[in-house]
Symmetry: C2
Subunit: 209 residues, 2 copies
């Protein structure tokens, strides 16, 4: 296990932009209390910035948890944009719907309970695809969704450095191997221009030509 970014740098960055939005604060507390994973505020801010730049009409999230990343996306969307959240847990999707309702953003969101990949396959012309499902599904996810991406789409995948394990030869478990294969797929695919931002657990960002 590798500490990707020096903890003093993470603290400095977190201190620069404290979350003042009560919905974000509540979701961050819920994550702490329940142990359910969220991308956290530093990655959340990156998602917001990318969405502002891209101005997508359609965002599809594969693996939304209880809606933390989806909330960042929804805040950054213009009125014509929509974010589709997917999660196997009915409770998670109900919570996400509640947060989006309370913040006046629910009309920009769709909530799908069930298998994320199955739901994702129902959409076309996706401008921004966010991948955060179980890591062993990452390669399946991009292969299934590639034909559903719009021209110049953005693909964003969380955990692309997988606790640093992708960079450690000794790590050969299924998740690590799949994330490695996913990264290699994205970097070598001629239709994508790919980078990985070493924020938190690594965020892959790829631009489709």
């Amino acid at each position: 296990m590798i500490t990707i970014t020096d903890p003093r740098i993470e603290s400095y960055l977190l201190g620069m932009a404290p979350d003042e939005d009560p919905h974000l604060v509540a979701m961050e507390e819920k994550a702490l209390e329940t142990g359910l994973p969220i991308v956290g505020p530093l990655v959340g801010r990156l998602l917001y910035l990318l969405t502002r730049l891209k101005q997508p009409a359609l965002i599809v999230e594969l693996g939304s948890g209880f809606g933390y990343s989806g909330y960042w996306f929804a805040r950054a969307l213009s009125l014509r944009g929509k974010v589709v959240m997917t999660d196997y847990s009915e409770d998670n999707m109900a919570y996400a719907r509640q947060v989006l309702s309370e913040s006046g953003l629910v009309e920009r969101a769709e909530f799908r309970v069930g298998d994320a990949l199955q739901a994702g396959r129902e959409y076309e012309n996706i401008d921004l695809l966010f991948i955060d499902i179980d890591k062993y599904q990452y390669v399946d996810a991009i292969e299934a969704m590639l034909p559903r991406l719009a021209k110049n789409a953005l693909v964003v995948a969380d955990n692309a450095l997988w606790h640093g394990r992708v960079a450690e030869e000794g790590e050969t478990d299924r998740e690590t191997e799949t994330v490695r294969r996913f990264n290699e797929y994205m970097f070598s695919h001629e239709e994508f221009f790919t980078t990985i931002v070493p924020l938190r657990d690594g965020v892959l960002v790829a631009y489709k030509f």
Copy 2:
């Protein structure tokens, strides 16, 4: 001095996307031989991706060195876009012009020898401002250029973590203090949404509302 990102992660990322462009390879070798600083391939790729997303008509670079970042920008621009490079060194600008000419991109570039801030002030409606001049000038630079930015402009500043010194209380030299003040200015300014990407020496990326 803090190692911002674990060296094994940097190696992994560098290994994922080896530069195959002979102009980039030549410039990276020149940087090694001369000791002149360049942003390097990982930041270069980030600049390319941001430029593709933003599709700027006008990029202004404050502090271009011998043209490494400018070359990444020029490659990412569409035909209607232009990058203005600025450097005090005539040799640096002549070299940049030569590389851009050899690669067929010279029509997308302008080369200004002299004081970067003075040259930068001559432009308006800047869609992407890249700041990489002497660090003690960073606050002056953004204050001077703010009125010259287009709506929804992107501001990108290299060395925003300044060898990690911004996160170390004991560091109080002029450069570190100015980079800290610059970061605080950008994060607290209500017209900007700001993040710092901990690639190499830290890249500040801000979206102007």
